[in-house]
């Protein structure tokens, strides 16, 4: 603005200077003539005549000015003129700006999410060096099985990394306060924070070379816990806290907003970080080469790419496999995979987000098309004005620039409004983003979003400015000017362009609508999918038994010791008001909601004498959960054959298990699974006998109807993370309070938390899908609205320009229906062609979407037919409204023109 002002001032000064110079010239010429003897009057006249047109001289002199200066002057002229024209056509201007604002606003909103989730690097220095290490058993298909301490040490010596830290998420009971609280705990190596390159806001982090084999007794806590449990007390450093009856000293407080770079949202919310060497108390099995902790994060050594590091790791793995053939048999094909930390955290949100981004791109495309159409209609209406200006000496390039200025001006105003809309809507967008979308970076509108929004609107402005420009090039002065005051008709070419644009709009709308319809149908199918269990009226409340580091202090060291607690919880729970049934299970027993630390995947060794492949002792991987006998009835999981657990299956009786139908079918395809024996780990000494088969449940994901699942009795295999299942007329808040009272009456150190109805859990497990569905549906609605507006515009413009013809037809006896048919045919034709093109696009889109659809075929004929029919009927309505005006045409008025 300042530069523009300065230029204007300079221009004004130069014009003054030129005027003065030319004035002096005239004076001198006059003086010379008077000196030659002419009368002052004649001298003045003659001097002026000789001088020529002073304005022309000035204009020509001005032409010599800098290109930029001239350009800015003309641009500001164009802009002022454009602003005046817009004020004269407020309806057109408002609709156009609103359309652009809608398109840009939607794009900017989605982009702000994509930007913070996918584009911005993780908030750590040199985040590109950070990786997650995942162990795979490729041959068995098992991925990310976890890592052992010897492997961790070998990898540290590989030279590929500057640091590696295991991360092991767990819940813990924070005691010593009014009532015990459950906190998220991430057990890490002492080098964890220096590996990430983060500093605490208070105190220090661990000494990264701390050689303590077990827990070193220090913890770093989160800002949230510091504020909540310690009232932001700055003397908290050095204070001792009780976690699961063990004492730890607080050494540091992390800054606000710091999240652990983990995939599971629970682990990201870690509040306490204890450090340990993973080679001592309480872990006794640390020297074994079998998975101990879930995984590790690492920083690749400076100067190495991730691919280089992967090669070194591969070489190391190869050596280790030769060195320890018993631990790494060729039959499991052990590998260690380096995953860029950001990819690991993002998991599978990249696909849906990019999908959304594509959809919003289509919406923007429609918005641009609509605006191009509006501008085109307007340019047609203005062709007379343009012709007059051209006749008076405006070059075509000057006229085109005028039109371009107008469209760019419109798009920039629309873009600004769009950014404002996105800014206002950022709260509600966040509300719809599911928790599973990692937001290590807060979703904000940064300069990048604003830049992209304005860039988009500028590009859009130029693009849809091009449409009417083609028209100026073909402007036929004589014809347009000859038409005197009459409304001008668009040429055949213009009509075609306009219709092509509306066809494009309908095509894109249909694509989006089919995508939305398929997603909605999938979602409905999922909601109605038989879960295999009955979630209605079931509430789950959680508790957790402590894991003291010194096992002699453990009140519940085995199933036998835990049994009385479980029986007491069930007895007291059943006595609560409104409660009809109570069962207890391990965390993994809660369908559709098992955080990482609850996931129990067993390495089962089948007794292969009777199974499919004889003598093969390769372990198989199966999800497992431990439950009390009441569990199956409470969740209405049907017994297919055999028997369920009874109160006689205890730690002193033979080990028994129940499997689901998928497991029975998969592992004992030819024999009866009942009576077969398995070992629950390769090192187990006792065999477990299968006593019953129950129905499959969708406990892993609503979309996965069957996967092998084994159930053990909680009275035989203990669980420390417990879920209390309650069926009855209860309110979640009240049942949590009541159960807490009852559980803490048994043991005051047990936290009771996380009450949630199972219905809610089922719904929440679908929330990422719901998010995608809602967004696509919203986009489809916007697209349909814009396309309808487009067809409305085309038909109503046609009614205006052919008013005379219609009048003649009516005067000659055309019936209402004839007129209606005449007018509507054009609009409906356009809609049908658009739908046809859109069907092709929709087929392609559906193919891409096939992976995320459920219970509905990608090329579902019913959906395609219904959506197309819907679109065409909307188009007919959009045509009918302006077509009605054609019926009201007064033949007399129309013909008089």
């Amino acid at each position: 603005m300042r530069i523009g002002g300065w230029l204007a001032w300079r221009r004004a000064r130069e014009t003054d200077d030129l005027n003065e110079e030319l004035g002096a010239h005239l004076d001198m010429a006059m003086a010379e003539r008077i000196a030659r003897g002419e009368s002052p009057h004649d001298a003045k006249l003659n001097a002026r005549r000789d001088f020529g047109n002073p304005g022309l001289a000035q204009e020509l002199a001005r032409d010599q000015w800098s290109v930029v200066g001239r350009w800015i002057e003309q641009a500001s002229q164009d802009a002022r003129f454009a602003a005046r024209t817009f004020c004269r056509a407020p309806a057109f201007t408002a609709i156009t700006i609103a359309t652009i604002a809608l398109g840009i606003g939607a794009s900017a909103s989605i982009f702000s999410v994509v930007n913070s989730v996918l584009l911005r690097p993780l908030p750590y220095p040199h985040a590109e060096q950070l990786v997650r290490l995942e162990d795979d058993y490729l041959a068995t298909g098992a991925r990310d099985v976890g890592m052992s301490t010897p492997e961790w040490r070998d990898l540290q010596r590989s030279g590929a990394f500057s640091a590696i830290s295991p991360t092991w998420f767990d819940n813990n009971n924070l005691t010593g306060q009014a009532h015990p609280e459950r906190v998220g705990l991430l057990i890490v190596a002492p080098n964890y924070f220096s590996l990430l390159g983060v500093q605490p806001q208070l105190g220090s982090v661990f000494d990264r070379n701390d050689p303590t084999p077990g827990f070193n007794g220090q913890v770093v806590i989160s800002d949230g816990l510091w504020k909540r449990a310690f009232g932001s007390d700055s003397t908290v450093l050095g204070r001792v806290v009780q976690l699961d009856s063990d004492s730890y000293r607080i050494v540091g407080v992390m800054p606000p907003g710091f999240q652990a770079p983990e995939r599971a949202s629970g682990a990201r919310g870690t509040e306490v970080w204890p450090a340990m060497g993973f080679a001592g108390n309480p872990i006794t099995t640390w020297a074994q080469r079998s998975p101990l902790f879930p995984g590790a994060i690492a920083r690749v050594r400076d100067g190495l790419s991730i691919a280089d590091a992967q090669r070194r790791v591969d070489a190391l793995v190869e050596t280790l496999r030769h060195q320890y053939p018993a631990d790494y048999p060729a039959t499991i094909d052990w590998r260690v995979r380096l995953v860029p930390l950001r990819d690991y955290i993002l998991g599978d949100v990249r696909q849906p987000l990019l999908f959304l981004f594509g959809a919003v791109g289509l919406v923007l495309l429609i918005a641009c098309t609509s605006v191009a159409n509006l501008l085109l209609i307007r340019a047609t209406a203005r062709s007379r004005e343009l012709a007059v200006r051209q006749a008076m000496g405006s070059g075509p390039s000057r006229l085109m620039r005028q039109l371009l200025t107008e469209s760019v001006l419109l798009s920039l105003v629309g873009g600004a409004l769009g950014v404002a809309i996105a800014y206002a809507a950022r709260g509600s967008i966040l509300h719809w983003v599911p928790d599973s979308v990692a937001q290590l970076n807060a979703v904000t509108m940064d300069w990048r979003v604003v830049l992209v929004a304005f860039g988009l609107s500028l590009v859009a402005g130029v693009l849809f400015g091009l449409a009417p420009m083609a028209q100026v090039r073909r402007l036929d002065l004589t014809n347009v000017l000859k038409q005197e005051g009459r409304a001008t008709t668009g040429s055949g070419d213009q009509q075609r362009t306009r219709r092509a644009l509306v066809v494009a709009e309908f095509a894109v709308s249909l694509t989006l609508m089919v995508a939305a319809a398929l997603l909605v149908r999938s979602f409905r199918e999922l909601l109605n999918a038989p879960l295999g269990f009955d979630p209605h009226g079931v509430t789950v409340v959680r508790t957790r038994l402590p894991y003291p580091n010194d096992s002699t202090e453990d009140l519940y060291p085995n199933a036998g010791a835990e049994a009385p607690l479980l029986r007491e919880i069930i007895r007291r729970g059943s006595a609560l008001g409104g409660v009809r049934e109570v069962a207890v299970g391990s965390g993994a027993a809660v369908p559709l909601d098992h955080p990482e630390q609850d996931q129990a995947v067993l390495r089962l060794v089948l007794d292969r004498r009777a199974s499919a492949n004889n003598g093969d002792n390769t372990p198989v991987w199966t999800t497992a959960s431990e439950v009390t006998p009441e569990y199956f009835h409470l969740l209405r999981i049907p017994l297919v054959r055999g028997r369920l657990f009874t109160s006689f299956d205890t730690d002193s009786s033979p080990l028994v298990a129940v499997v689901n139908e998928s497991m029975a079918r998969q592992y004992w395809p030819h024999v009866d699974a009942i009576g077969q024996r398995v070992k629950t780990s390769p090192r187990a000494t006792q065999w477990t006998t299968i006593i019953g088969i129950v129905g499959d449940t969708r406990s892993d994901s609503v979309t996965a109807p069957r996967h092998p699942q084994i159930y053990a009795s909680l009275y035989q295999r203990q669980g420390k993370h417990l879920a209390i299942f309650v069926r009855g007329q209860v309110e979640t808040g009240a049942i949590e309070r009541n159960l807490r009272e009852q559980v803490q009456a048994i043991n005051a150190a047990l936290p009771v938390f996380g009450a949630r109805s199972l219905d809610e859990t089922v719904t929440a497990s679908l929330s990422p899908r719901r998010f995608a569905m809602m967004m696509i549906a919203a986009f489809a609605a916007v697209a349909l609205g814009l396309a309808s507006l487009g067809i409305y515009g085309v038909v109503s413009f046609m009614v205006t320009e052919r008013g005379q013809e219609i009048g003649v037809r009516v005067a000659l006896g055309a019936q209402r229906s004839d007129v209606l048919r005449l007018v509507m045919r054009q609009g409906v034709e356009v809609a049908l062609i658009g739908a046809g093109v859109g069907l092709v696009g929709a087929l392609a889109a559906a193919r891409v979407m096939a992976g995320i659809l459920y219970g509905v075929r990608a090329w579902d004929p019913w959906t395609f037919t219904a959506v197309t029919a819907g679109l065409v009927s909307v188009a007919i309505v959009a045509c009918y409204l302006p077509a009605r005006r054609a019926l009201r045409v007064d033949p007399l008025l129309a013909m008089r023109g």
Binding site: E21, A24, Q64
Partner: protein, 120 residues
Amino acid sequence: MVRRSPPTSRIELLQGTLDLIILQTLRWGPAHGFGIMKMIQSQSSNTLQVETGSLYPALQRLLRQRVIAAEWSVSASNRRIRIYRLTAKGRERLAAERSQWKRLTEVMAALMQRPASDEP
């Protein structure tokens, strides 16, 4: 660019020659626009008449090319006038264009004196 009146005695300037003429005129010393016009008229014995509509755009063009410079002064009749003078760059340009002009006139003269039979 230059008005032909009367048509017989006045000649039209070739494109670009006005710039050369202005530079040549300014070689004798700084001058204002009117002065330059008069000097061209008198030195060409009134054969060349430069119009203000050509002169001032040319002056602006030469200013932009930095071959002439201008400063404001006050005339005898107490009017602010713009005085133009040649710059060092202008002297170089003038020297170059003069030798070019010389070669062009020689070539043109030679071409024009050829017998008619040479023409195809």
